[in-house]
Amino acid sequence: MYLSVRVDKEKCIGCKICITSCPEPNVFIFLPEQKLVEVNESRCKACGLCTTVCAKEALKIG
């Protein structure tokens, strides 16, 4: 994908709301130790849905 969502690790609080809002499988991976999410960029379709549900504005399409 040319565009993908990216996570601002400073802002993410690991609430997991983005994970259950993404229509694509296996895009978000939850890192329990760090309590934040990571993105598998090759699976993201850049729909922007997760960016609208993240209350911490930790996600950006770029």
Binding site: T20, S21, F28, F30, K45, C47, G48, L49
Partner: protein, 288 residues
């Protein structure tokens, strides 16, 4: 049957595709995981060709994550947008001629009960509004009248998505669509109410904007169908492509529907309510 069915032969493990190894190592098979654990286990669905922001694909993803025993589940679908993701799903899946899914599922459930008398094999229909409410309505209703022990999950996007936006029986009255430019003339078919009348022991109406509630409804429906009879879950899965809203707004649209015509509702027989109390009490104990 042993859950080790998906354990690869050690000497061949290195030549298996990465996705398969991932599923074996991190998949939900044989574990007690659900929607709350998404992101920490390999999901059952693989990449799929749904449009960006598709509500149906999110519905499929959440419903699959709520299967109580994916290794012992057979999903039966029918053509439509729903089957794009389902046919690429690492769970036993059978497609049918359009609308036949509840008949095929009935037969498969009966066959599995004979073949595996001591094992719970869940048969779950997952299909769109076209397959269930339009061409397959008679077969769906008859499976309920007969008391087949299957769960039916409708992914209701209120339109024929993959054929360009014709009105479906489930489109709301007045809905303007690509191929219904003057708006639909008829009411949405009350399949949820029909499920109750036709003999489903449990029914729930939810939207993809409430993933935990959706997961609980799917889980309850499948466990109750194992023991008591047919169950039904109707999930609102809006389609950005045909409803012409931005893919980024799918959850907002689903939330809004949740406060109008898609308000959460559940029905259950008395027997089902007692069973739920026992099942969820036991699950609580296991989690503690």
């Amino acid at each position: 049957m042993s859950k080790k069915i998906i354990t690869p032969v050690a000497s061949l493990a290195h030549i298996l595709p990465e996705d398969y190894r991932d599923l074996v190592e991190k998949g939900p098979h044989g574990k007690s995981v659900g929607i709350k654990d998404l992101g920490s286990f390999k999901e059952i669905t693989e990449e799929h060709p749904h449009c960006a922001g598709c509500g149906v694909s999110l519905g499929v993803r959440l419903a699959l994550a709520a299967l109580p025993a994916p290794e012992d589940t057979l999903v039966v679908g029918t053509p439509g947008c729903s089957f794009f993701a389902l046919s690429q799903t690492a769970v036993n899946y059978s497609n049918t001629a359009f609308g036949n899914q509840n008949s095929v599922a009935s037969g498969l459930k009966r066959m599995l009960s004979i073949r595996y008398p001591d094992k719970d094999k869940d048969v779950v229909v997952m299909a769109g509004d076209g397959g269930i409410a339009d061409i397959g309505l008679d077969m769906t209703l008859h499976s309920w009248f007969r008391g087949e022990k299957i769960s039916t999950i409708m992914l209701d996007n209120e339109v024929y998505g993959n054929t360009g936006g014709q009105e479906s029986g489930m489109s709301p009255e007045g809905q303007v669509l690509h191929m219904a430019p003057k708006g639909k003339n008829f009411k949405k078919i009350p399949v949820f109410e029909m499920a109750r009348t036709a003999g489903c022991v449990y029914g729930a109406r939810v939207t993809i904007a409430s993933p935990k509630r959706l997961g609980r409804a799917v889980n309850r429906a499948i466990l109750l169908a194992r023991e008591l009879g047919p169950t039904y879950v109707q999930i609102y899965t809006p389609c950005p492509t045909n409803m012409k809203f931005s893919p980024a707004d799918t959850i907002r649209i689903a939330k809004e529907a949740g406060s109008t015509h898609y308000a959460f509702e559940e029905f259950m027989t008395e027997e089902a309510a007692l069973r739920i109390a026992v099942m969820e009490g036991e699950q609580g104990k296991i989690q503690d």
